[in-house]
């Protein structure tokens, strides 16, 4: 894992002092809420329906045990004993007092964490593959590249007042586990025929009210030019992105309106110029970072078998573990989606427990996934049963990864001032309705957004649900056929929307159509792609 040196530490410490001063000026009235707003937003502090919400950055989703435990302590000390893990691999707290925010940042800085650029019209926290470093299909561990981007983008002087927020993701495997092509810039680290590393740039993806899948604008930027190329992409956007309408201000609209070719031409011209400016960190810096992501001391010669005699354990293993690249180890995903729970929520005690378990079972490391779960990346098979028993006893043993109950949901109208409809109660009802049939239905990614901004990724759900306001009443639209993987696609709306109970019934009709039509090992998405919308529509509205 990346460890701060004195420079990194000094930067977050300065940020604490900076924000403490900004809060002081706000509290003593020397700046207005209007002037304070962009400052607090640069630091992840939102004014929500009931209180301030603080979003804490978890760069590329990676946490140490000590960091995780601090997140649990903050939940107890400053919030109501809960934290909410987000689709950007971050954590947010929903009940924060403004005057406490500087102290929270100081606590975070003590474990090399911060809330820098977790909101605002700047380059946000960079996300990555939650299985990085643990899975066989990656070209390299993508996190050193994400860390290089984290540093480059931190307090970037030119790109802190962009037309709109800017999200980047870095992956290094063809199996996209980070929804890379639904980001403003998605980077895939690749190897060319000569065995050299480079960065494929996908620019102009996103969800929101105008979902777009990012086109590839450069298939191979040499790795020692990745930052310069990013800077060129951003400069063209900062200069020419629309600022007249916040709903048309994301880079996807610029790329779409200019056309991919013209945008690319402008980026390449800017890139050629910026290459003369000496802004690229030397490869030695990348090497310095890479060393810190070196493998932990994996044991060799381990048994590679499991005792599956406990059926509950076997079910959990089948659902929530992935093959590790080292024999004798597995990648564990802890589901934060218990039946009827709030997706992504964990109690302070659960957060601290996961921190402790990471230390005892996973080389002191955890990951937050964009699907709002937690990963222990390196667990010995021989210790898996003991780990599962501890998780299960704490309500963290739900066996439903990528099943219909593993729902992504935004906070919705229960918390968010932008939302039109509640997301959480719908997620809870669906989770309860399907709990007994989850395994029968198999892989089904269901995602719920409480407004058109799509924080719940509804466009990318095999089944997506979008909450809208229809003449003052919450109404839910159903989408089918979205996907966020290597086969990224956007869902299609089935037709007229439903009320809260109606949408749950409609989901059930859709899964019934799937089960009746499924061939062989087809997933819901495969069947939908094969038979199309018509049979679903007929069952739902017929």
């Amino acid at each position: 894992m990346y460890k701060y040196d004195s420079y990194d530490q000094q930067m977050v410490d300065a940020r604490v002092a900076d924000f403490r001063d900004q809060v002081r000026r706000r509290l003593d009235g020397s700046i207005s809420e209007e002037q304070f707003r962009p400052l607090r937003l640069m630091n992840g502090l939102y004014l929500q329906l009931h209180a301030y919400m603080l979003r804490v950055a978890v760069p590329y989703g990676t946490l140490s045990s000590a960091q995780m435990k601090m997140l649990g302590d903050i939940a107890d000390k400053y919030d109501r004993g809960y934290g909410h893990f987000t689709t950007r691999q971050n954590i947010q707290y929903n009940w924060i007092k403004l005057e406490d925010a500087p102290d929270i940042l100081a606590d975070l800085a003590s474990v090399e964490m911060h809330a820098i650029q977790t909101s605002g019209n700047c380059i946000r926290n960079t996300t990555s593959d939650q299985y990085a470093g643990a899975i066989a299909d990656e070209v390299v561990d993508p996190r050193p590249y994400a860390e290089l981007i984290r540093q480059w983008s931190t307090f970037h002087p030119e790109f802190s007042f962009l037309p709109r927020k800017f999200k980047m993701a870095v992956i290094a495997s063809d199996t996209d586990r980070a929804a890379m092509r639904l980001h403003d810039i998605g980077i895939q680290i690749v190897k060319n025929a000569a065995g050299e590393l480079g960065a494929a740039f996908y620019v102009g993806g996103g969800m929101g009210r105008t979902p777009m899948v990012a086109p590839c604008i450069n298939e191979f930027v040499p790795i020692d030019q990745m930052i310069t190329y990013s800077e060129a992409c951003l400069r063209v956007y900062n200069r020419h992105g629309r600022r007249d309408n916040k709903y048309k201000a994301r880079i996807k609209i610029l790329v779409h309106e200019l056309g991919k070719d013209e945008y690319t031409r402008q980026v390449e011209a800017e890139f050629a110029h910026l290459l003369t400016q000496g802004i690229e960190p030397p490869l030695a810096e990348l090497e310095r970072i890479k060393v810190q992501f070196a493998d932990p001391a994996f044991a060799t010669g381990l048994v590679d078998t499991l005792d599956r005699s406990d059926p509950d354990f076997a079910l959990w293993v089948d659902n929530n573990t992935h093959t590790h690249r080292i024999p004798g180890y597995v990648v564990v995903t802890i589901s934060l989606k218990p039946v009827g729970g709030i997706p992504g929520d964990a109690s302070a005690d659960q957060i601290r427990l996961m921190g402790d378990l990471a230390k005892d079972y996973s080389f002191d490391e955890l990951r937050v996934t964009h699907a709002q779960n937690i990963v222990l990346p390196h667990v010995q098979k021989a210790e898996l049963y003991a780990l599962w028993q501890k998780l299960d006893a704490a309500g963290l043993g739900t066996a439903n990864l990528d099943k219909i109950g593993d729902i992504i949901a935004c906070p919705g109208l229960d918390y968010c001032s932008l939302a039109n409809a509640r997301s959480i109660p719908v997620a809870q009802k669906i989770s309860q309705r399907f709990a007994a049939r989850e395994q029968e239905i198999g892989e089904l990614k269901l995602k719920i957004s409480g407004c058109i901004n799509a924080c719940g990724h509804h466009h990318a759900g095999h089944i997506g649900i979008l909450g809208v306001d229809r003449k003052g009443v919450e109404n839910y639209q159903l989408l089918l056929g979205g996907s966020e993987g290597a086969d990224t696609s956007l869902g299609t709306i089935t037709g007229p929307g439903f009320d809260e109970n109606g949408i749950v019934d409609a989901v059930e009709k859709a899964t019934d159509v799937y089960l009746a039509n499924k061939e062989g090992e087809e997933r819901f998405l495969d069947t939908y792609r094969r038979i199309g919308m018509a049979p679903f529509k007929e069952a739902i509205y017929g």
């Binding site: 004195s6 420079y7 540093q151 970037h156 002087p157 007042f161 900062n238």
Partner: protein, 147 residues
């Protein structure tokens, strides 16, 4: 005219009125020009040797196009005064300086102590720009002071 509140240059300020980018090409005696957010700073590059003052207007602080305009001019070798005018706030000063601005004429006067503190708060920087500060990566690898 709004007062220049901060100026980090030793030379005499230019008194000439700033003309628009559109007009500047034709007014061969003009030495001061004002960039609005939609203007292309690169239009000025052929004329840099006769420009003594560039004002970059920020009608609203959230419109960050002026940051790119400033860096583009400095990257092209412009050495004259680069002044941020308009909705310039305390917490933008450090970013603006890093992009090459060396004078500030905020439409609302800033608290002097707050502004000084904000400009001094981040002595170290991650990314190099045109301001000549060595980035942290350079210091890490022995291209400057530091550990």
């Amino acid at each position: 005219m709004v007062e220049t509140q901060f100026r980090f240059r030793a030379d005499e300020p230019v008194a000439d009125p700033a003309v628009t980018v559109d007009a500047f090409g034709d007014q061969t005696n003009a030495a001061a020009v004002r960039i609005e957010p939609g203007d292309d700073a690169r239009d000025l590059i052929p004329h840099l040797d006769r420009i003594k003052l560039v004002e970059v207007n920020f009608p609203v602080f959230g419109d960050g196009r002026g940051y790119s305009a400033a860096r583009i001019l400095r990257e092209a070798g412009y050495v004259g005064e680069l002044r941020a005018v308009g909705d310039v706030l305390v917490d933008q000063l450090a970013y603006l300086r890093r992009c090459g601005f060396d004078s500030f004429a905020p439409e609302r006067e800033l608290n002097h102590a707050d502004a000084e503190a904000a400009m001094a708060r981040y002595p170290e920087v991650y990314s190099p720009t045109v301001d000549g500060l060595a980035p942290i990566w350079a210091k890490r690898h022995g291209h400057g002071a530091g550990n």
